[in-house]
Symmetry: C3
Amino acid sequence: MSAITLFGILDVLGTFVFGLSGAMVAIRRQLDIFGILVLAAATGVAGGIVRDLLLGDTPPAVFSTLRPLSAVCAAAVCAFFFGALIDRLKRPVMLFDAIGLGVFAVAGCEKALAHGLAAPGAILLGVITAIGGGMLRDMMATEVPRVLREEVYALAALAGAAIYVIALRLGLTETIAASAGVLLAVALRIASVRFGWQLPRAPGS
Amino acid sequence: MSAITLFGILDVLGTFVFGLSGAMVAIRRQLDIFGILVLAAATGVAGGIVRDLLLGDTPPAVFSTLRPLSAVCAAAVCAFFFGALIDRLKRPVMLFDAIGLGVFAVAGCEKALAHGLAAPGAILLGVITAIGGGMLRDMMATEVPRVLREEVYALAALAGAAIYVIALRLGLTETIAASAGVLLAVALRIASVRFGWQLPRAPGS
Amino acid sequence: MSAITLFGILDVLGTFVFGLSGAMVAIRRQLDIFGILVLAAATGVAGGIVRDLLLGDTPPAVFSTLRPLSAVCAAAVCAFFFGALIDRLKRPVMLFDAIGLGVFAVAGCEKALAHGLAAPGAILLGVITAIGGGMLRDMMATEVPRVLREEVYALAALAGAAIYVIALRLGLTETIAASAGVLLAVALRIASVRFGWQLPRAPGS
């Protein structure tokens, strides 16, 4: 399977799972089916929209292809009917979410490099792509964004994007570099949840 | 009266009433006159700004014409002096708000089509234009956006934009298609408030 | 020292102090070091990013130069280790914050004029540049944005940007006009805090 196809699949999967997380928050807040759909869409596609806006690539891709919107609609419907089940499946959802985080970080970074950004800017853009949707979800639900509170989350995206850029610099192929980036982000995120890793807080806070 | 003139009037009216709703939230939160102005402006023009950003039409129109800003300033002043009266006028305000919703949905959709977006993307952009200002208003006031909570709100915008596109596809004139879109959105919104229509919530939530 | 150099220094200083204010909010919320960094970055650079997006100047400058990011990283580190000290230094922090407000207002206005916007639009853009970062900071922390609540804050930015434009119209040099704008904004902001100036609230609210 070519890297592009694999990436396409992971990208849709990432959008779906991010959509799922938005839909679950909406259900917890007792929103109706359309509110669930709106929050799923905001979570699933906002990161990519912000990425495209920042790169001046307008209108953003999500407005001209049906795949991301189909993915978030499917996520909203799944959450609507199987919310209780999904709640119990915490582990797989967290896994998919970690995959989405890694894929979006690397994909954002890749697109930024293609638009001529230097490494630091491209990595920053990758992180924004990866965490943007979740931030909007939590701000709409008036919660302090999980990315600010949770164990190693934005840091996992940062590490994945950075490894991707470093691997490219070392002359590795696009496929290998991207895989390394996604794998590192996923591994870091899962390990941090599994082992309860925490970053230090300010002394006396 | 030509459709463009009518639309121009409705557009300013929509901006004014959206501004009014922002100003009323600000007053309820006991903000000062400038806070009222900022929240009125954010509510009245944010949807159009986001629309123009997404279409790559920068700088957004609101920065080069004085009409929208004049409308929100007028709204802030009205709310400041006649807040108590407006509170009692709930019904007319809700009517104007519904008109604003419909006009912004159709206008956003129209502009997106003119920029070459296909139907689904254009409808999505219409919805974002219509609900963007209110979402920002509620997020700034740290409330869960009304669009997520209220009876048929974003759905009315979606229906209006969709009918507009369908009518154009059927070969109807711009004027008729736009009128149909606005009317449907307004009718849906008002009927949902009047009859207390609710969309289903997730089972067991 | 040329105006450009002076402006460059003030700009970095403004970014640093805005970053500091974001970091202090993050510490108060007991976020970890990366959360502190994210909130410092959001506060320090969001205004400039929004300005560049609105002017169609993509990718925004912050993605291609390391200075602003270095400034917010430094701010996050300072806040992390010396949070208690900074808390006691309220007065200097407020002074720097006022300087940042004035510099960002004038710099946003200047860039907007250079992009061909007329005076009202340019002033509006200056205000958005100056208050954007703080608004995002407070929305992420789920607080009603300080710009909506505090004494003469956005109004100081507005006055600074307006004086800058008026001075240019009167034929004064760029340097003098910019200095006048920054000084007025700083003076207004500090005086309003010092003397507890308040703008009127709506009657009976």
